[in-house]
Symmetry: C2
Subunit: 739 residues, 2 copies
């Protein structure tokens, strides 16, 4: 087991420690008092609804996973175009991703009632409870991710029976398979959870807020329990599965590109290149835990203190991971270590800038969102929508440019700024490794950044429980403040998520070409014969040789057409998920209206609405609608691969990636801006609650809901899943494609 150096054990150690601390935070959170019986009862409703939904979702997902595993087994054992471990690795990825969402949600559903109760005492106390629950989620995700990576690395090292530098390449690309499992499960979780939560939210808002004029989370609203269940299944479980996928995806891409890039320098150096991203991630786990403990404030803390306290924790981890990257890469003896570590800093900086831009475009402290609020006043709902869409589209400029610059800069760092030989075989491999390392750097402190993201929904839910349990007004104020604080801190998290997703996806495209080389060996082709008469042995071929062999240039009509198709798939997928929310929401609206009409006394509080029906409608809607979009992501790269071959697949992935990034930023920011424009009006501007401007802004917020919470976040996963599917079925494409 020469490929497992002593320092490797740091990785499983980090995993175990993360899981232990997650358990510790879970326990301390659960020790908190849950409060009154009414709180307990409401919380139990929500918990039961959430768990019931998750069971339903997993039922669907299990069927899909079994079908896919059988298909992969057929490719491996029947057609012999694939590694035998693929079906198993695929399954574990799905299971671990599902577990990450499950534990996160379990913790959140216990924490929200406790946060509500804690908020009766103080803001600080509520923050502590909610943030601990966020920490459970953050640490569970990174702990399980590291565990899966470590396990498969050990298993494959033990059983893969190849010698030389090929061994690590096979191991690392096989590990990408469990990334596919994670992405598949994540896509179901994001799409299903997103449809669930937004159907409920839209239904509750449109009838309750706009038509009946009752406040949010009012117990008289039949959809209110479903809405709160939705926050858990969408914003918590979906988020957990999503970031689990991002986290392992970035590490796996870097690991696989490292093995390929350093193969010419021999196995010893290869192992070091593979260890580097794992160790950066492992160190990130420790720094996250320290950062989490730094988040505490004095008893009489103001909002500003709270924000400062969280920022301190996050910044501490970010700065230290940058420094540690230098140390890790230096100690490993990676050539060009200081420039590679600079790539990590570039990635982190990019994340911070994107976060700031997101904040500028979506916070109502700034001009864009205020302009949307103003247009609610002057124009009404139509101009709110027009301005929100326009602003969202404009907001894509800086983030996409920053992502572009950081891709080029981290590439240049990794090739020692050898600008005049940008594309030699060696430089390409190293450059791509640099991009992947930068992306790992961005996600390395996910333990804490996810914690700052995940406590928001807990606070949101606590607010709902406070409302439904009839707690005093000030409790709701406190949970609202926490929720708003969560939105601000989450902006940075979103910056990291979108930045790293793009870079990971790009790295995965490169890994695809690596996998193509392995696929040649599966079908017994040992030489690549080029059109110009020259040839190269597959074992010696570089990524650029594959590019040349398949002519993956922009004048290849197949590449061009598949770029178009990729762009279209991003839109088509978005349309399907948005429409799914629309349909499910309409059913919810009809049901809520029916209850108001038929069950007399709901609005006066004399009768209890039928919460259960609304929960069922959301569950059914999500279950029915989530399968098609998810299957699309799996089937399209296979079909394109079979018809158009490798060049077509790369075109599809690049076209999909470029459009999906922009679309995702647009949707996230438009949705965020609408949400906060509404909040701005609710704070008393332009007529405040109940005014025509407020109603117009609610329309904007409602349209933004599927944008920012269903479709937007799913797009990142879509692209990575398509890349991973392509990697997994590479053997099939190489063996059987038409063109």
């Amino acid at each position: 087991m020469q490929h497992v150096p002593a320092i490797f054990w740091f990785v499983p150690a980090a995993s175990i420690i993360a899981l232990c601390f997650a358990f510790f935070f879970y326990k301390t959170m659960k020790r908190e008092d849950e409060g009154t019986d009414r709180i307990k009862q409401v919380a139990m409703y929500i918990r039961q609804g959430a768990m019931a939904y998750l069971r339903q979702q997993y039922k669907v997902v299990i069927i899909v996973f079994i079908c896919l595993a059988v298909f992969f087994a057929f490719l491996a054992y029947g057609l012999h175009v694939q590694n035998n471990w693929v079906p198993f690795a695929f399954l574990t990825g799905g299971i671990f991703s599902g577990l990450a969402g499950f534990f996160g949600m379990k913790s959140a559903t216990y924490a929200s009632s406790r946060t509500a109760h804690a908020a009766t005492k103080s803001l600080n106390k509520a923050l502590t409870v909610a943030f601990r629950s966020g920490a459970v989620m953050g640490l569970t995700v990174v702990g399980l991710g590291m565990l899966d990576i470590a396990l498969w690395y050990l298993i494959l090292n033990r059983f893969v029976d190849i010698d030389g530098t090929q061994k690590l390449i096979v191991i690392t690309t096989t590990m990408l398979t469990f990334g596919m499992g994670a992405s598949t499960q994540a896509l179901f979780a994001r799409v299903g959870g997103g449809i669930y939560t937004k159907a409920a939210d839209v239904g509750a808002d449109l009838v309750g807020k706009v038509e009946a004029g009752i406040p949010e989370d009012d117990p008289r609203n039949p959809a209110t329990i479903a809405d709160n269940v939705g926050d858990n299944v969408g914003d918590v479980a979906g988020l957990g599965a999503d970031l689990y996928e991002s986290y392992v995806g970035s590490v796996l891409a870097a690991v696989s590109l490292g093995a390929a890039a350093f193969a010419p320098q021999g196995e010893a150096m290869q192992v070091k290149a593979v260890m580097a991203p794992m160790l950066i991630a492992a160190i990130g786990v420790f720094l996250s835990i320290i950062g989490i403990f730094m988040v505490k404030t004095k008893e009489d803390a103001t909002m500003k203190d709270l924000l400062g306290s969280i920022s301190r924790g996050v910044n501490f981890s970010a700065v230290l991971i940058a420094i540690c990257s230098f140390a890790i890469l230096y100690l490993l003896g990676i050539p060009n270590w200081y420039l590679l570590a600079t790539a990590v800093i570039i990635g982190l900086l990019a994340g911070v800038i994107i976060g700031k831009v997101t904040e500028y475009f979506t916070s109502h402290s700034y001009k864009p969102t205020r302009a949307i609020a103003k247009s609610a006043d002057t124009g009404g709902s139509a101009t709110v929508i027009i301005n929100g869409i326009g602003t969202g589209m404009i907001s894509t400029a800086i983030p996409v440019t920053v992502i572009g610059i950081s891709i080029i800069m981290s590439y240049l760092c990794a090739i020692n700024f050898d600008i005049h030989n940008l594309l030699t075989a060696t430089n390409v491999q190293h450059g791509l490794y640099g991009i992947a390392i930068a992306s790992v750097g961005m996600l390395s402190t996910l333990g804490i950044t996810l914690a700052t993201d995940a406590y928001g929904p807990v606070a949101d839910n606590a607010g709902g429980i406070a409302e439904m349990a009839g707690l005093p007004e000030e409790v709701r104020h406190r949970t609202d403040s926490l929720d708003a604080l969560g939105n601000t801190t989450a902006a940075t998290g979103k910056g990291f998520a979108i930045g790293s997703a793009s870079m990971t996806a790009l790295a995965l495209v490169a890994s695809y070409l690596e996998e193509i080389k392995i696929a040649f060996s599966h079908i017994g082709q040992n030489v690549l014969q080029f059109a110009d008469g020259s040839s190269v042995a597959v074992s010696d071929a570089s990524i650029m040789d594959i590019v040349k062999y398949y002519d993956i240039s922009l004048m290849n009509p197949i590449v061009l057409v598949c770029i178009f198709l990729g762009a279209m798939v991003a839109f088509f997928f978005s349309g399907m998920t948005i429409n799914a929310v629309g349909r499910a929401a309409e059913n919810m609206v009809t049901e809520v209206r029916r209850q108001f009409r038929e069950i007399k006394g709901i609005l006066t509080g004399e009768a209890v609405p039928d919460y259960q029906r609304c929960v069922q409608i959301s569950t059914k809607g999500a279950q029915k609608e989530m399968t098609m979009p998810a299957l699309l992501a799996i089937i399209i790269p296979i079909v394109i691969g079979i018809i158009f071959g490798v060049a077509g697949v790369v075109g599809l992935l690049v076209g999909g990636l470029s459009t999906a990034i922009v679309l995702a930023v647009f949707m996230a920011n438009a949705g965020g801006a609408w949400d906060n424009a509404k909040k701005y009006i609710e704070e008393g501007n332009h007529g405040g609650k109940g005014s025509d401007a407020h109603k117009a802004s609610v329309v904007g917020d409602t349209v933004g809901d599927p944008f920012k919470d269903t479709t937007g976040p799913s797009l990142d996963i879509l692209i990575k899943l398509m890349s991973m599917v392509s990697i997994v079925v590479a053997g099939l494409v190489v063996a059987f494609s038409i063109f």
Copy 2:
């Protein structure tokens, strides 16, 4: 002048004949009676407003054109990186495109009053007048286009002082410069006109229809004149400039690729390849004129008869141009003539299919639009928006796939289905020529398809005049029927426009690489030295050599990043134009509300509103907002070229093209579906006019306005303009780029 064979004179002849018939139709249309004094007065207001706006727009455009011409003169005479003819060709393109819009609009403003008056008599009479005005526009556009092409072909043949096959290559790529002039002017016309018309439309609808509850085009609405002026400057003048640009763009791209592709076969064959697209377009002119004369019905014609009559004319021209393409290519003696002509058929078929799909997604005879109308009833404005966006996104799937298939099929036709040598130097050149020829085929009968597109706004305006002049109810019914008929026939036109735009844009990217070769000769570089040690003389280099030299592959990080940036530019441009409409519309809303509030007696008809103020607001809004988006399209390719070089520019263009196509289809279809969902409700479904569902559907229609009439149509031009700018500044990029 060996490059000007006798058959060439067919091209100027077609041009003169088209212009003569345009003049003839204009005269017969003007001979019609204009009706009552009130009609004349209203028509005069509209005409004056439209002309006043056009003057303002041209003032801005002239400044921009002078600046750009000076810049090009500096590149040519100062830096010597460009052909000396560029500044002049650029200017004529702009002037001719402007003239096409101007004449079309002049004719439309005279025709709408006459159509209104004719509609007092019969539907058939109204159709004849409106359709003749459309024919003026159609024939002016193709006549001026052919004229410009013929003139510059003659001038450059006379003065370009090069021998051998290079001469035609230089001539044809220089001619692309006047395509840039046309595109620049078209973008201003589309964006400016689009902002003007939609600001007025949104303002008129939101306050008049929704708040005050008065019908469309009611003279009590202060924005009503501005709204009708807008139809002329946006839907007529903008459309004319736009399609002029598409028309000459497709011919120029084909001509330039033909010269390059057939250079190895010697000058004689080159001339034939250059003549082919010109002749197909010229024959298309004659067929269009015949088709236009076929559009007539008996006096008691029903709507179905009218539709049948128009379809007959259009189908006649389309079928005959397909047949004639075989004849032209055979008689010219182009090798592989029957397959190349098949490419024309493929293009035509693609246009028809895209048209049908557009109809399916946007006509309220089908499910998608009815579902949007239903969601107005069940959910309200928010679900109308959600469903419209979702449906619009889904509707991109088939059109983009069809475009993709037709690109690949026409490429394969042109290379004789030599699948195993898809990318040899010769095959690439011929394949791209095939794509360009297919795109010429799609637009060759523009004379008649534009006529069927352009009479819709005339009928729409006639309806407005009827309303304002107090003509009987049935007049409005007739003009509405004509308008609806126009929407149906225009769907096919849109299919051709979007399909040919994508294919032309792709051909332009190829022309860009051709221009790069010429740019090398400008800066005195005669040999391309490749990274692998081999080299080739610039004069012998193929497009694929340029691709190899700059490594325009998908693993080049510069290419990838610039693809991202291209996708972003499409969104950013869309955001800018959408927000521009939003801002201008808000000003309009404020003004209309002010007039209702301050001028007593408007709503009772006792006081006359201040129409002029609204006209001014639209004019100012358009003038202020149109410059930035248009300049963006010109500046970005120059900046990207200077920083990232040729590979970056190609990435930018491909990324922009792929995203812009999808975005354009999405916006056109979402906008159309919302429009027709509203009309469906207005026909009495889901509660009819005045119901809550109707109000919700008006919000959808309003959001859709900038989508379908400002941003959507501008996106096609944006991409072609960016390609043309790249071609024109190629010398600058080759000489001075950083990477």
